[in-house]
């Protein structure tokens, strides 16, 4: 639990990795600024296949459409950054939430009386049944507002109803049913882990039109499984510790237990997992672009450059530069991940 007083000095490898990631993020930011200013990569067919290091305006050469490779790579940074970090952060959050909830509630933690369950089921059915009616009678409102109002009203009516029905009129209504939350999560994880991630992403992208935003969503939906597993396992392990039992016995509220007892333990493995998963995601994002799936045609990406480069192997700079950038980003993340994992072990 105690933190080392002085953090171990960074090895040169780690310094380099941090530097690279900072540069990577800066490039992504720069590209975002350029895009918001309307300054995009221009295709100039007369300038196609200029070799690198000859001209100042095309320092890294040009590709088959005459686009500047350096500029394209910087714009590719933005795509890769967007596809790796925000979805992974969200996925980690979802994973922590679901894993912690499943581990703390377990298979016997959530008990609902049969009467309440029956009542909520009835209310849900009624909610479903009367929605078209509501939709029609309030048709001058906009769709989202309509939905929000309906859900709001339904909650206001049904919550007190369920709350008040403490004692059911029937005997069977007081029977408690346990909901196996943990087992449910395990089942869901089992379903998500059916396919390799690349295949799952390929199939999921079919459901929405190709764009960065939808791809980010699907990546998030695919990658929450591992953080959920990690945090579930850690919390289960933690519950056997005596200080956790003490905290329970003292009646410390869950929020505080989480922030003061669980989070310090969870942090290390989750950060490690974040780094390794993000490095894998850089690879997956480029692979999807390489296959031409998930990203619209006008979004620049390193994978697309590599995919096109295979038709013109003589232009070595079209393979070399994106590969170097991609590998450097992947390995930087892995070096940092190794650092976190060794820190967690120490």
């Amino acid at each position: 639990m105690e933190k080392p007083k002085t953090p171990s000095p960074l090895a040169w490898k780690e310094k380099l990795a941090f530097l690279w990631l900072v540069l990577f993020t800066c490039a992504a930011g720069l590209s975002q600024v350029w895009i918001s200013l309307g300054y995009d990569v221009q295709a100039v067919p007369e300038e196609a296949y200029r070799p690198p290091f000859r001209l100042m305006q095309h320092l890294l050469g040009t590709d088959q459409l005459g686009r500047d490779v350096l500029l394209y790579l910087i714009h590719g940074c933005r795509t890769s950054w967007l596809l790796a970090f925000p979805p992974m952060a969200l996925a980690t959050l979802v994973g922590i939430l679901s894993g912690t909830i499943a581990a703390t509630l377990g298979n016997n933690g959530l008990k609902i009386s049969l009467g309440k369950l029956f009542l909520s089921g009835l209310l849900l059915l009624a909610l479903f049944y009367f929605y078209p009616l509501f939709q029609w009678s309030t048709r001058q409102w906009s769709g989202a507002f309509q939905f929000a109002v309906y859900i709001g009203c339904a909650l206001m009516i049904s919550y007190p109803l369920v709350k008040v029905s403490q004692k059911s009129f029937f005997k069977w209504g007081n029977k408690k049913v346990t909901i196996p939350v943990d087992e449910g999560l395990q089942k869901i994880i089992g379903i998500w882990a059916t396919f390799p991630k690349l295949l799952l992403l390929l199939i999921l992208t079919l459901f929405t039109p190709f764009s960065i935003l939808t791809l980010m969503f699907w990546i998030c939906a695919t990658y929450w499984v591992l953080p959920a597993r990690v945090s579930r396992g850690m919390v289960l392990q933690l519950q056997k510790e005596s200080y956790y039992e003490t905290a329970q016995a003292l009646g410390i509220p869950f929020k505080r237990v989480f922030t003061h007892f669980m989070w310090p333990q969870l942090k290390g493995p989750l950060l490690t997992n974040f780094c390794f998963a993000a490095s894998g995601l850089l690879g997956i994002g480029s692979t999807l672009a390489y296959l031409g799936i998930g990203l619209p045609a006008d979004v620049p990406s390193w994978g697309k450059m590599l995919a096109n480069a295979r038709f013109s192997l003589e232009a070595w700079w079209l393979i070399a530069f994106p590969s170097v950038v991609l590998l450097a980003s992947i390995f930087s993340l892995q070096v940092i991940g190794h650092k976190f994992s060794s820190q967690a072990k120490a």
Binding site: F128, F195, L199, F207, T287, L291, R310, L327, Q334
Partner: protein, 451 residues
């Protein structure tokens, strides 16, 4: 195991299979533009770009009738009461859409009156007027926003007044129609039972007869397409997997035998490096080296159906196999090495060595069987993961396998093929995991002593 236990397991297996298959199909019906013929939903609409609303609707409804997708999706469904009432009028195909909208918005009696009047008017009116009115009505039926609906209403009223009709009764019935409101109860959903005549039932019974439907791109049967693609993919997978298994075994063994050697540390670092390089870059490097060395991917022409051995002998498949071996070897070797190392440190290996066995022999006889057990699970994962490796290789080397078929059908929205491949992969996965479980039962002596 006793007979009831076995039959329970078999029953559970088939239930899982049926449930998964049904879920895949029902979810696939949620895909966007699944109910449109090809090209109709394209953003640039090059195919049907100049056609008007009527033609587009006619094409879609023809397509739906031809494919049988106009039937309900499942055995039962929920439908608004108003829509059911509209169906009872039994309108002509071109009037179905706007008539059901009219019934839902303004009630059944005036809608029926308008429909009758419209039928009479249609017989005598000039065709372009009929078409214009049809277009307006379709747009009115499709409109969702309130302002749009009311403006279209006014437009139709004006249009009907200006049409040169003697008594202009159509305009009158239209006025009567839009002045009334449908009862609110029309917006309550009703449960409807459809019986066997639904899309799911037809699909499932087709599946049981080995019919997965036809591709929407070239109208070939899906199972035929998958079958011919499987040929290449199996060859590729075997060419990658078998050498990789051998290499991993030898490498892992060598690493354990000589843990301090320079080669071991260099090779291990190289394997760690290779493990984190994305697969398509490895493929590109192999591809590039082969081409720069003067190789070509031309396949010698052969007559007749190529058999598996023949396919495996062609240069692109051989190279692809090499790439796949490179994908698998790092992970497999490192895990095998780790497992073997753990076992070699255990007490029983020390005992074996104390009794006079050499290190190599004690590893092979005593540590290896124990080290292989956790590898079995890993192996089943590797075999399942092989599919994504095969996919990348097939795209790069332009091979006609399962992976490239999947990518192509995703890019061309060929849903029957995508569903077929997904089902195939699910069954493949199920077979692999079941086989692994079975192997555990056979190989692990602890399981035998229990029964």
């Amino acid at each position: 195991m006793t007979l009831p236990q076995v039959s329970l397991r078999v029953l559970k297996f088939f239930f899982t299979l049926w449930f998964t298959v049904s879920c895949v199909f029902l979810v696939s019906r949620l895909l966007p533009s699944v109910n449109n013929p090809r090209g109709l939903a394209d953003a640039d609409s090059t195919v049907y770009g100049t056609s008007n609303q009527n033609t587009l609707q006619k094409i879609t409804s023809d397509y739906l009738t031809r494919t049988g997708y106009n039937r309900p999706l499942f055995y039962f469904s929920f439908q608004l009461k108003g829509l059911e009432t509209a169906e009872n009028i039994k309108p002509m195909a071109e009037a179905t859409r706007w008539l059901s909208a009219a019934v839902l918005r303004h009630g059944v009696v005036p809608s029926q009156a308008f429909y009758k009047e419209w039928q009479n008017w249609k017989k005598t009116a000039p065709p372009e007027k009929v078409n214009q009115l049809q277009e307006h009505l379709q747009r009115w039926a499709g409109a969702e926003l309130n302002e749009e609906i009311s403006s279209l209403k006014k437009m139709i009223s004006r249009f009907l007044q200006t049409t040169s009709s003697d008594e202009n009764s159509l305009s009158k019935t239209w006025g009567k129609l839009i002045s009334q409101n449908a009862p609110l109860s029309y917006h309550l959903p009703l449960l409807r039972w459809h019986g066997k005549d639904n899309v799911y039932h037809a699909w499932l019974s087709g599946l049981l007869q080995g019919d997965l439907g036809t591709s929407t791109v070239d109208y070939k049967p899906v199972y035929q397409k998958i079958g011919s693609a499987l040929h290449v993919s199996v060859g590729l997978g075997l060419l990658g997997l078998l050498p990789a298994l051998l290499a991993s075994y030898l490498l892992g063994f060598a690493f354990t035998l000589h843990p301090t050697s320079v080669y071991t540390s260099v090779l291990r670092h190289f394997l760690y490096f290779l493990d984190s390089v994305p697969g398509f870059m490895i493929t590109l490097v192999v591809f590039g080296i082969y081409f720069l060395a003067g190789g070509s991917l031309l396949v010698p022409f052969s007559s007749g159906e190529p058999d598996l051995l023949q396919t495996m002998g062609t240069p692109p498949v051989l190279l692809g196999g090499l790439c796949i071996a490179f994908f698998i070897i790092p992970h497999l070797t490192l895990q095998f090495y780790h497992s073997l190392q753990t076992q070699s440190r255990s007490l029983y290996t020390r005992t074996a060595m104390a009794k006079g066995l050499s290190y190599r022999r004690s590893l092979r006889v005593h540590a290896l069987p124990n080290a292989l057990v956790p590898i079995l699970t890993l192996l089943s994962e590797v075999v399942i993961g092989l599919v994504s490796g095969v996919l990348i290789v097939e795209i790069t080397f332009s091979l006609q396998g399962i992976g490239s078929l999947l990518v192509k059908s995703i890019l061309s929205n060929d849903y029957p093929v995508v569903v077929g491949i997904t089902l195939f992969l699910l069954v493949f996965r199920l077979a692999v995991t079941t086989f692994t479980d079975f192997l555990y039962l056979v190989l692990d002596p602890r399981n035998q002593s229990n029964t």
